[in-house]
């Protein structure tokens, strides 16, 4: 029941256009970075540290250098004066501690997987063979691995810093003047109300885009050309120039076809830097493509927080305050956005609710694990998880339906625009409408009745119903706000519209798609705006020599920021064409109206299509005096506010209480993302987002062993869900158009991921709450669920008798039992 197949307006916008991008992708006519072959191209292989923390005592490269077709071997020592430090664009406090981040480690490694040497050879296979010959001696150092231990400085990740604490960031509604004093609210509730105190774990995740990262650097032209599987060609160009001491004008960055990102390619990487340095030294095109293990081990990770939460409410369930205390694991280095990720969640813990008092505290912590940064949702999934889990706990405390306690506290539709306890202005929304629709589609009351029946009959398969009524802030972001948060850049976006003499239109966008379908959606917008055919619009992006200006794609920003830039550029084209059309039609510009791609003289049948104006402008034989012979227009748009999509997600799971196995039965979501440009593309964004959020709830976790080695470093161990693990979804929409952009759109790229995780975990906990369970740590594996069910009986303490599992040998049983102990995390 997806709302995809209907046309919701007479124009292109709202139509479920099939994507322009597909033709090349379904026929294999693709330009992935790794496809690029250049004459004389050399290939890189990385030598990576097997230790989480160690001093490099010596590196012997002689054997590798002597290997067949090896051209060079670079160590940190070789490049220490040119490599600089990989950038952190968001120092969240003035005193943030951030260790220098060399691309190639010089004398110390700080996580397992860090690059210690680079082998350059004539083929990738020869480079990898020779990488095995690089002999590195390490002196192992104690590693800071556990986040809580690291926060206590038990072991130092970077001894020179003297502490693992990178930055402490706080927002307090009383201090900000946006709300009351949270400590007073909690104190009062301890006396005469309800206080819910919980600690939740946001496990470490890996973005796991399907295309491994790849970079090609060609230094043979006037510009050094960099192809990279990146989300951020413009930011990469700027930062490469800034760090590596090359004029920005001498670097051209191209993001060709990019196979997914999800935040994982929102980074300036050691691999890009190393390839750039190798190409510059050797004067030859160089390529590096990572293996999947390298990708999982050394590409940045996401999430990884402990969340301590205190919610206060009156006895009738009105929330009076929320206090958040976070520990956020940065890994070994402060990455590009780094500590900014939890800060992006700081204003979202209050979610859709009218909390009068709020405080957010976040301590970012350095450890000897892979560095963390943005992963789909970045900060907002963590916030949404926390509050949506807490609202369920509050409902249980009150003995009411979880939707009832939410409704009691949420912002009513007639209260928009609403200024939250964080000082953000939510422009529009209707939580009642989305919830009503979702309940109806879900069959909420029937499922609740079935749940009761299964409870009453002691059915070994129990049903759980999970709720998540989310909102998020996306469309990053108003530059002034970013400035006030000490982010290093703005949040505008750029677009150009070029009118070709044949009437075709070239659109250039600073957004950099990697699967989102911008070529299609942007064509729809321009087709409507200029009254030209969808097929006549060509969208160009992802090459800094073509799309010279932009801030790229992340944070569900492309449509709400980049789309608005496009609208403004297209409108400028019309404005520029108008006096020319008036001149050619021998009319006054004031008498012209533009509609359906045509300028008409009011009250006459005289008119001229914009394509005709474009041709006449190209010829320039007969233009009004002083008018430039061009309709081409640019616009750079800085958003006035964030975008606040919202929605109600309902999930039903069946739990086999005998095995702990989870089966998803039904998932309904009704998202309000404002006006929709292309419902087909939106459905895809929602489905994919849902599965990533569901994966956090049920499957995925980056696991390090006690030595700091990532043990989930292949797709054998890092459990990206398959088709067989997932179900088909019931998605629909309600529409409260955004008031902050012309098209009335809101972001959708991250919505599914942000909303779904708590819906699923709430469903899991709901299914087994009658066993005394009030939490199951993510991912909610069968082992964890089973242990949670049996936490209060003898079941968890009794080892499986050998004869109950005759197909296991004794050693096997012992291993499994020991393993099960490690996955504790059940009821508290």
């Amino acid at each position: 029941m997806t709302a995809t197949q209907e046309r919701t307006s007479s124009g292109e916008v709202g139509r479920d256009r099939r994507r322009k991008e597909d033709q090349r992708l379904i026929t294999g006519r693709t330009r992935w970075t790794d496809n690029i072959q250049l004459p004389g191209m050399l290939h890189l292989a990385m030598v990576r540290s097997p230790f989480a923390h160690a001093r490099i005592t010596s590196i012997d490269t002689s054997e590798a250098k002597a290997a067949t077709n090896v051209v060079a071997v670079l160590t940190g020592e070789d490049v220490k004066d040119e490599q600089g430090s990989l950038p952190n664009a968001w120092p969240i406090t003035p005193d943030q501690k951030a260790p220098p981040h060399p691309s190639i480690a010089v004398d110390r490694v700080a996580f397992a997987g860090e690059i210690v040497a680079v082998v350059v050879a004539r083929s990738a296979a020869e480079a990898r063979d020779a990488a095995e010959l690089v002999d590195v001696d390490y002196e192992e150092l104690p590693a800071a691995l556990d986040l809580k231990d690291a926060a206590n400085d038990t072991t130092l990740a970077h001894p020179d810093l003297g502490t693992n604490k990178s930055a402490f960031w706080k927002f307090d509604s009383a201090e900000a003047g946006t709300g009351g004093n949270v400590d007073e609210a909690i104190e009062k509730a301890r006396g005469d109300g309800i206080v819910i105190e919980r600690e939740y774990r946001q496990q470490r995740l890996i973005p796991a885009f399907m295309e491994p990262r790849s970079v090609v650097v060609d230094p043979t032209g006037e510009q050094i050309t960099v192809w990279s599987a990146t989300q951020i060609p413009h930011i990469l160009r700027f930062l490469m120039a800034a760090v590596l001491g090359v004029s920005e004008a001498k670097i051209r960055v191209i993001a060709p076809d990019v196979g997914g990102g999800f935040g994982g390619k929102l980074q300036t990487t050691p691999e890009e830097w190393a390839t750039f340095m190798a190409a510059r030294r050797l004067g030859k095109p160089c390529k590096y493509t990572e293996t999947r293990s390298e990708s999982l081990m050394a590409g940045h990770h996401g999430r990884d927080q402990w969340q301590k939460l205190t919610l206060s409410a009156t006895k009738d369930g009105t929330v009076t305050g929320l206090k958040v205390e976070l520990l956020a694991d940065m890994g070994a280095y402060i990455s590009l956005v780094g500590g900014g990720v939890p800060v992006l969640g700081a204003f979202m813990f209050n979610a859709i609710y009218k909390f009068p008092a709020y405080q957010f505290n976040c301590q970012t912590v350095l450890t000897n694990k892979t560095w963390t940064d943005a992963y789909r949702g970045a900060g907002r999934p963590e916030a949404t998880f926390a509050i949506e889990r807490l609202m369920d706990e509050l409902a249980v405390e009150l003995g009411v339906d979880p939707l009832e306690v939410r409704e009691k506290n949420w912002i009513k539709h007639e209260e928009f625009p609403f200024i939250t306890v964080c000082g953000l202005e939510y422009d529009s929304g209707n939580y009642e409408a989305a919830t009503a629709k979702a309940k109806e589609m879900f069959g909420y009351d029937e499922l609740r009745a079935e749940q009761q029946r299964r409870r009453d009959s002691g059915d070994p398969v129990q049903l759980g119903i999970g709720v998540s009524t989310f909102t998020e802030m996306c469309g990053l972001a108003p530059s002034r706000v970013l400035g006030s948060l000490d982010y290093g850049a703005g949040g505008w976006e750029h677009a150009s519209v070029r009118m070709l003499p044949t009437g075709k239109v070239e659109v250039i966008t600073g957004a950099s798609a990697h699967g989102q379908g911008h070529e299609t959606a942007w064509s729809q917008i321009v087709a409507d705006r200029l009254g030209v055919a969808f097929e006549d619009v060509e969208v160009l992006h992802g090459d800094t020599q073509i799309a010279h200006k932009g801030l790229d794609t992340y944070g569900s920003r492309s449509l709400v920021v980049g789309g608005e830039a496009l609208v403004k550029a297209a409108d400028k084209v019309v404005e520029k064409a108008k006096p020319i059309a008036a001149h050619l039609l021998e009319a006054s510009a004031d008498d012209l109206e533009f509609s359906g791609g045509k300028f008409s003289v009011k009250g006459t049948d005289k008119g001229m299509a914009i394509g005709e104006v474009a041709l006449a402008t190209f010829a320039a034989h007969n233009l009004p005096d002083g008018v430039e012979p061009s309709l081409d227009s640019d616009a750079t748009y800085d958003p006035v506010n964030f975008s606040f999509p919202h929605g109600t997600h309902l999930c039903a799971v069946e739990i086999d209480t005998e095995t702990g196995g989870v089966k998803m039965r039904k998932y309904v979501c009704v998202d309000d993302i404002g006006n929709i440009v292309n419902p087909l593309i939106v459905s895809g964004q929602v489905h994919g987002g849902l599965v990533q959020g569901i994966a956090q709830a049920l499957f995925e976790e980056a696991v390090h062993d006690e030595a700091g080695t990532l043990v989930s470093a292949s797709f054998v161990d890092y459990l990206v869900p398959t088709a067989a693990d997932t179900i088909s979804f019931d998605t629909a929409h309600t529409t409260s158009p955004s008031l902050t952009n012309t098209l009335g759109t809101k972001g959708v790229g991250e919505a599914g991921t942000i909303a779904s995780t708590p819906a699923v975990v709430n469903a899991v906990v709901d299914a087994i709450r009658h066993f005394g369970v009030d939490d199951v740590q993510m991912p909610c594996t069968p082992a964890r669920i089973w242990k949670a069910i049996h936490a209060h009986d003898q079941g968890g303490g009794t080892p499986t008798p050998g004869d109950a599992a005759p197909h296991f040998d004794e050693q096997d049983v012992a291993d499994r039992t020991a393993g099960a102990d490690d996955t504790a995390g059940g009821a508290q």
Binding site: I26, R29, N35, A125, M210, G259, L680, G689, S714, A723
Partner: protein, 154 residues
Amino acid sequence: MTKIEVTVDGAKYADDVEPRMLLVHYLRERLGKTGTVVGCDTSNCGACTVHVDGRSVKSCNMLAVQADGHEVTTVEGLAQDGELHPVQKAFHECHALQCGYCTPGMIMQSIDLLNDNPNPSEEEIRTGLEGNLCRCTGYHNIVKAVQTAAGGAQ
């Protein structure tokens, strides 16, 4: 070096290859068949899926020398005379791809699945595609595309 003769997408090739060269690398690096991609190196993701003598094979899991004397079809060889294969059409029609990186393998596996079972249930489709990972679509529209292609074939 070992001499092999392989037919790929209808054209005959003869090459000397290193015995350790994987079929996927042979396709990509020697023949320029870059439509077939590498996603994981461990035969989990299926992005490299091609057909060998009409059956789906993960080409990262087969040596080029093992393809000697066999017929390989990649995603680039599916369209005939400019006409897309019904499964390619269904992927486009149902928006069963976003970034497109898993798509070649997903299409090749879907064709294999439908060859085995022309009228699969949703569950059979999901099980049949279990060896192919997609990070973008959540599989919803991929399943729909396979259903659509199956319906269209009837």
